[in-house]
Symmetry: T
Subunit: 139 residues, 12 copies
Amino acid sequence: MNIIIINGPNLNLLGKRETAIYGQGNFEDYFKLLKVKYPNIQLEYYQSNVEGEIVNKLHEVGFTYDGIVLNAAAYTHTSIAIADAVKAISTHVVEVHISNVFSREDFRHVSMMGPAVKGSISGFGLDSYRLAIESFLKS
Amino acid sequence: MNIIIINGPNLNLLGKRETAIYGQGNFEDYFKLLKVKYPNIQLEYYQSNVEGEIVNKLHEVGFTYDGIVLNAAAYTHTSIAIADAVKAISTHVVEVHISNVFSREDFRHVSMMGPAVKGSISGFGLDSYRLAIESFLKS
Amino acid sequence: MNIIIINGPNLNLLGKRETAIYGQGNFEDYFKLLKVKYPNIQLEYYQSNVEGEIVNKLHEVGFTYDGIVLNAAAYTHTSIAIADAVKAISTHVVEVHISNVFSREDFRHVSMMGPAVKGSISGFGLDSYRLAIESFLKS
Amino acid sequence: MNIIIINGPNLNLLGKRETAIYGQGNFEDYFKLLKVKYPNIQLEYYQSNVEGEIVNKLHEVGFTYDGIVLNAAAYTHTSIAIADAVKAISTHVVEVHISNVFSREDFRHVSMMGPAVKGSISGFGLDSYRLAIESFLKS
Amino acid sequence: MNIIIINGPNLNLLGKRETAIYGQGNFEDYFKLLKVKYPNIQLEYYQSNVEGEIVNKLHEVGFTYDGIVLNAAAYTHTSIAIADAVKAISTHVVEVHISNVFSREDFRHVSMMGPAVKGSISGFGLDSYRLAIESFLKS
Amino acid sequence: MNIIIINGPNLNLLGKRETAIYGQGNFEDYFKLLKVKYPNIQLEYYQSNVEGEIVNKLHEVGFTYDGIVLNAAAYTHTSIAIADAVKAISTHVVEVHISNVFSREDFRHVSMMGPAVKGSISGFGLDSYRLAIESFLKS
Amino acid sequence: MNIIIINGPNLNLLGKRETAIYGQGNFEDYFKLLKVKYPNIQLEYYQSNVEGEIVNKLHEVGFTYDGIVLNAAAYTHTSIAIADAVKAISTHVVEVHISNVFSREDFRHVSMMGPAVKGSISGFGLDSYRLAIESFLKS
Amino acid sequence: MNIIIINGPNLNLLGKRETAIYGQGNFEDYFKLLKVKYPNIQLEYYQSNVEGEIVNKLHEVGFTYDGIVLNAAAYTHTSIAIADAVKAISTHVVEVHISNVFSREDFRHVSMMGPAVKGSISGFGLDSYRLAIESFLKS
Amino acid sequence: MNIIIINGPNLNLLGKRETAIYGQGNFEDYFKLLKVKYPNIQLEYYQSNVEGEIVNKLHEVGFTYDGIVLNAAAYTHTSIAIADAVKAISTHVVEVHISNVFSREDFRHVSMMGPAVKGSISGFGLDSYRLAIESFLKS
Amino acid sequence: MNIIIINGPNLNLLGKRETAIYGQGNFEDYFKLLKVKYPNIQLEYYQSNVEGEIVNKLHEVGFTYDGIVLNAAAYTHTSIAIADAVKAISTHVVEVHISNVFSREDFRHVSMMGPAVKGSISGFGLDSYRLAIESFLKS
Amino acid sequence: MNIIIINGPNLNLLGKRETAIYGQGNFEDYFKLLKVKYPNIQLEYYQSNVEGEIVNKLHEVGFTYDGIVLNAAAYTHTSIAIADAVKAISTHVVEVHISNVFSREDFRHVSMMGPAVKGSISGFGLDSYRLAIESFLKS
Amino acid sequence: MNIIIINGPNLNLLGKRETAIYGQGNFEDYFKLLKVKYPNIQLEYYQSNVEGEIVNKLHEVGFTYDGIVLNAAAYTHTSIAIADAVKAISTHVVEVHISNVFSREDFRHVSMMGPAVKGSISGFGLDSYRLAIESFLKS
């Protein structure tokens, strides 16, 4: 089983950026822990700050992988292009957010991803990613 | 560890109601499976169609339980009273939805619960409840 | 043939309340006249001021009765829970209003019931109920 | 007793047009059945696709007839002119719709007729017309 | 000097219609008084309930007359077609209203005519027409 | 003279709930002080988390009591049912809020109670209730 | 007969200010012509850039003068205070605008004066003032 | 193959009206050129300023012609009646505009025709009509 | 203890102005009664129709007085300047309204004062002022 | 004559993606047919999922090519950057859409391209591209 | 070279008012420093809390001074009168704000001054004034 | 001291593009002049049309440079990603615009950058950049 985590803009600064909201851990360390926890899943990680590159990556993996965990970050709220890509591919996409987007600015309450993804998980800090992976496993 | 699942209006009809959206299983059967899966958690289940009774139940359990899984259903989108109750208590509440609310009617895109809960999980069918319980466990 | 009339909040005060809008007759007297007029229909009457109790009643009668005449009153404009209940059951529901809601306050122009019911009748005073019953008879 | 049914734009295509929404019967056949059903009422029928001609007809009949059954169709949602005509005349007007306008496009949820008519009936298919006629009879 | 007064829908009922708002005089009588008052002006009067016929009339007179006094009535608030006609012709058009449209329903506060006409006069009862004619005279 | 104080949802948690906003006193203690301060008034207290039960209570007391002090809490902003009840009864109702609702979330700026009550008092902490009682006394 | 013309902010710059919109004449010269044209009317003129001073002047003249011609200029679109003053006095007020406000910026399409004045005249350049005076004369 | 071009209000003034926007050619001359260019197509032309007559014409041709080229002009933005007619008939309709409606007033950005037509072409001047005819030919 | 009552625009006309809404008493008489009722409070009264003068007065008294009772009248709904002044000073300000603003025009439902004042009292007629003074006394 | 077709995000998946909406042909095959059909035009094709790369390409070709056919896909509705680029260059741009955007989601009804392009063509499937090329040819 | 700084309401309290937002320096001291820094510019300072007096001052200086630095404070967001004055005069006006208005309340995001001024500078504390003066100097 | 100027989309065309709005100088020439004017500042320049590359550059310089001058151009109004990057870094960012964005299209009045930057300067043509640099110097 192969699953890819795709992170959007500014998530490469995790641990350096607004730590009151996003926590102090960086994503690379967390990702290592995830790989240890799920030895039987082939876990991959991709990050880009460029909207179109996220579209490219979704096209690349979206017909062969078993699952995609997508934190589109800022693009969540504005990108029809990424939402269209999610709808265009056949692999299921689960939307993930670290913070509770509904307790932040108004413009973060809108999700272009919403109608396109299979499900969404938000507000659990980095643990949101683990729950997303769990969602691809048999219950 | 004791966790309660609180279901809002019309969820007692699960399995009978709009099965294209909500699936064919009823909640009681699913709940039995959950209890088998998590033998070490004291799992409880409560359902009411009355907004104020859900407020009452939150008050009753909200200072002593370890976790609350709340599917406020229709009240998710309109009830300030339930959201205020969630903020008033000390136990963490995780919001759960069976369907992907963002791919349904516009009025279901608004969540009064949003800013009050710890996190939210939606779109995974009944499996959303399992993921919510997972969120209370150590990762 | 059995038909139930379900009245929402404050309709128990009919004849006492804002008689310029709602008329001077109380509903109990009118209901007796209806029973006389339709001796072959088993007519029932239920009133509650509690949103969730109306949901409960709809669940209770909604799979066996031949028709439901619903005046959700104030809840017409706000209750997703009742609308969801109407959609969840199999008996047809006809929406009824005593006054012409469109010539009153703006917030009464919105009907959450609208998309869920079979049809709706408003503005004919208490006679709206008779027309609703007529709608269940063969034309 | 004389009552006129006035139908607005495109209703002349009934039975040919979007039959999933409007049904398969044409209005002329239905009108003949109505005349049979109500032998003591002098029933008339008028249809026009022109907004101003409907205004003209309302002026013509609106001070002498006993009742007007109006399905303004598309003009329901935009015509202040017809609504003004309804208010300008002395005969009571009952608004009728074949389909449940609230389960269709957003722009059909607005009714300019609403505040002007005596009452309104919608969603019962062609049977809406019969109920409108019933509303003019003694209960 | 030739000036035409063009009246829109329902103004043919003046004196019969909502006399609390529009007054008790009918327009024909008032028009005779105007002709007496302005013997040197060739005054004409046209009324139609059909939006497109008002467009036709504007085309017909709009390149040769010295002035047009237009009370588009209900079409004031919705008709882009009449506004386009006003802009398409070369004769100046003065907009007139009998009542103060701003103290009535919200939908009467919007004027499609506004940006197209030379000036507008409202709220003076039938006297608004006289003031409009005055506006075409040398001050 | 008999006056009843009716408190809405979550106000039973006063002193336990968000004390930064609502203060640290519980309502029962405060109510005892009020009774001492106004020995000549028959003061009563009712609290419910259920919207419809507040409607019921208003019906029960609303034709015989001398005054009603209503803090509808969360229902202030959404309940047409309670507002309709306030309009349906004959006893004057004074709206009360502990906090300054206008310096809180946007959805708390809307008051359905507003047009129905005699007057409203907000922002004085528990002292708002005393001022409401004062309003029923001769100045 | 005494009539006062009250001009609002920036109208003292007439003839110096945005002459493409407001024309090249200054108001003082125009006012002299008006006095010549209406020798039997006691015409007065007042201008202020201060909202509250316009309110003061309306109070001062509003119970004894025969007519007020008000061009509130920028305050037309924002001043509830002036509109309240217009409603508070007994003399009729006619609203006047030099330019056609509907062919300018959106924020000039709103008139707070609208519902308070007797009538309004706009778009005729300085001639709007003459027409306003005409409106106070017998037709 | 027979195709009809239907033009809406004010397009009869083409060449006389706002030539900066609509160009200087009149439609009759252009239509002759089109007939020369497409000798094998039976081209017809109809123009009306009356909304309902356009509905009538659509009904008349809409079940037998091979194609309809519709420039509803001002009615594009307001007419549900014409849009309903387009949906009611079986012949494909192509929407055409001479100017680029999106670089004009806001109210021209809304198209009621949009969801009803097969496709739309705008901004190419009179050449938009030729492209619409091309769309009916084999590519 | 010194408290000042500051009244905004048009309140100097109290007793002369729209007496159906504001009552028939003038403020000066009422103020004398207040002084008699509270002999131990140094009560002062200020009224201005000029927004900026109210700002000036707030600055003047806002660092030394014990309380300010402010009825900003029309400026309540539009004045950021007064609201900023209220926030800038150290004395507590209580907002007062004579009428129930929520049962009047929509634009009176917005209060710029709301988030800046300590509390607000409205709808009790002139008695609102007494209650505001009470709010500054020990309960 | 050289013309370039620029396709935006996800159009590289044509034939694989939501074929019910976009058809089953891929663009490369269609492009070959176009080149055969127009042997005298130097046709080029560019696709990118990156908004800024489309801006780059427009800059590169926008001062020397004879025509640009642009299907900005998802960026149509959000990209001010591409619209600014279209305005910044001298070559005419024709906007193209495969599907009828007005019969899809609301957010696809807004076109940032609208005011910047020469004309637009939508709803004809891949044939929209041919019509765009036709628009650059002499009529 | 003569430049005037015009400050709007509440800026006279600088150093006393909400120092967390506006800083602790008062404007008079800062103004002295500016005069020292720019000995060759004739710098003047004016402050008023009255909207209309700011209009008066703009008229007085607006045809002879070389530059105006305007901090309209609260009036920035509501005053069409001041914006009209800025447009009416010939001297360039530069808008200045001490705080970053975009990180404060929503109603401070709207600037009526915006379209009227030459440029605007905000967020640099008192240093915004220095930058505004710099903007009038040769670069 | 090192400061970087970051320019967003289409600013590479400065001097070629819409010169009526943006002026005729290109940025490279202007930048040379800036370097001459500020010999003690290490000035750098970066331009990209790709939103995500601007994010990348902000990450790269945002923890070590002394100042960032950002003209995000079209992305100013839509990019949450760039705004998030501005908030994520530690170097202060000053927002710059060449034209007065408030006197242009509505969609340019919204600034996503607003709440994230230290200050903003707009409307001074290329001189806006000089003023931004001045803001980083001691006053």
